[in-house]
Amino acid sequence: MTVSSILDGYRDAVLARKLQARISRLSAEIGRRILIMHVCGSHEWTITHHGVRSLLPENVEVRAGPGCPVCVTPATDIDAAVDLALEGKALLTYGDMSRAKGSKQSLAEAKTLGGDVRVVYSVHDAVNIAKSRPEKEFVFFAVGFETTAPATAYEILEGPPPNIHFLTSYRYVPSAVEAVSRSPDLRVDAFINAGHASTITGMKAYKPCFDECHKPMVFSGFEPLDVLMSAAMILTQIRDSDPKMENEYTRAVTWDGNLKAQETMQKVFDLHDGYWRGVATIPNSALDLRAEFSNLDARDHYGLKTMPDGADFVRDARCADVIIGKIDPPECPLYMKECTPTSPLGPTMVSSEGTCKIWADHKIMSTMRCRI
């Protein structure tokens, strides 16, 4: 049995057409507009790449919410990383993060100005690079959601060498879903919850949010049929006026999640209020290093500024509205005009999980959907 032989079933065209028929029937029975929000860049890629939206009826809209970690990393954190690189520290980070601009520059641009910026695949690689050059100071710019934070926690508990510090900008998805569900101007009917982040937290992390909002929540995988099955599950719940937390991604997500990863993460990080670039400060949404690890914290070590200063995006750019899921990319006046994948102005056009980048890569220039 290979990986692809299992997943091929989740791309079965016959089953897809049957699901499409079921979804059409359900949406006709519901008879009103339904807005489903997902909160994961990888879901946006699946949906756009496989043309899932074109399979959905007129009155069912699936929109991307705040599911791109690079996009929500505060400009002040990127600025701090750029300044450190230009001061002679070696900055290590993931590829997408190196290309996102802060209020002035990206780390990739800092590199062209002589800064020592290196792209790594994993935090383990970052630690190994630091070990190999004990005379040099390294900073790992650690961004991501709870999917990524446990790995950094593991390396920190293993005891990294003294010449590496961590500039962390980790965010916690359940708190963002809660904030979106409370937003009066978004009027989301249901959520497709992030599959990979939920493998760590489990479904249970979303229980308080569900108990408050009583909106359908389906935990979904990343093959095209996963998304169609999730849409059918959500529409069945709405038709039957029976909202619940349901698991479509049973091959990876459980109610309790990955307890070992949670324990590792909680030993190193605790939750604080966190700023999501251009969106808001969301309570309990930042996974920050615990006080006992402050000796590893680049903010403490180098005395960095931590408060966002409002210089989020270039003028007229609507990155914030794309991030929160208020608009689709073509509604931004800069989309594919001043702002393109080869010369991105905002983070949503940089990251492979940014909605603008995904839409641009698939040459989506307009949206045929009518707005709510």
């Binding site: 290979t2 990986v3 299992i6």
Partner: protein, 81 residues
């Protein structure tokens, strides 16, 4: 950033595993310390770390469930738009 790929664990050496991602891609040095994985099992790998063991039976069960409940559903024709 939350991109994760499923792969089959070929062998384990301490905290690290050799993982077959299919289509000829095999990687060594995947950290498996955050999961309880055994050789032959499928893991979901994110940025060099296995974050969950995949349940192969559940994957098949979900498909069978949908095939069953949609057995009499007629296939829709061309996309509606």
């Amino acid at each position: 950033m939350c991109l994760a790929f499923p792969g089959r664990v070929l062998s384990i050496d301490g905290d690290f595993a050799k993982v077959d991602f299919g289509e000829g891609t095999v990687r060594e040095g995947i950290n498996i310390s955050l999961v309880e994985a055994k050789p032959g099992e499928y893991v979901l790998v994110h940025a060099g770390y296995a974050i969950q063991v995949m349940d192969e039976k559940e994957a098949q069960k979900t498909l069978s469930y949908w095939r069953e409940i949609l057995a009499y559903e007629r296939e829709s024709g061309a996309p509606t738009r």
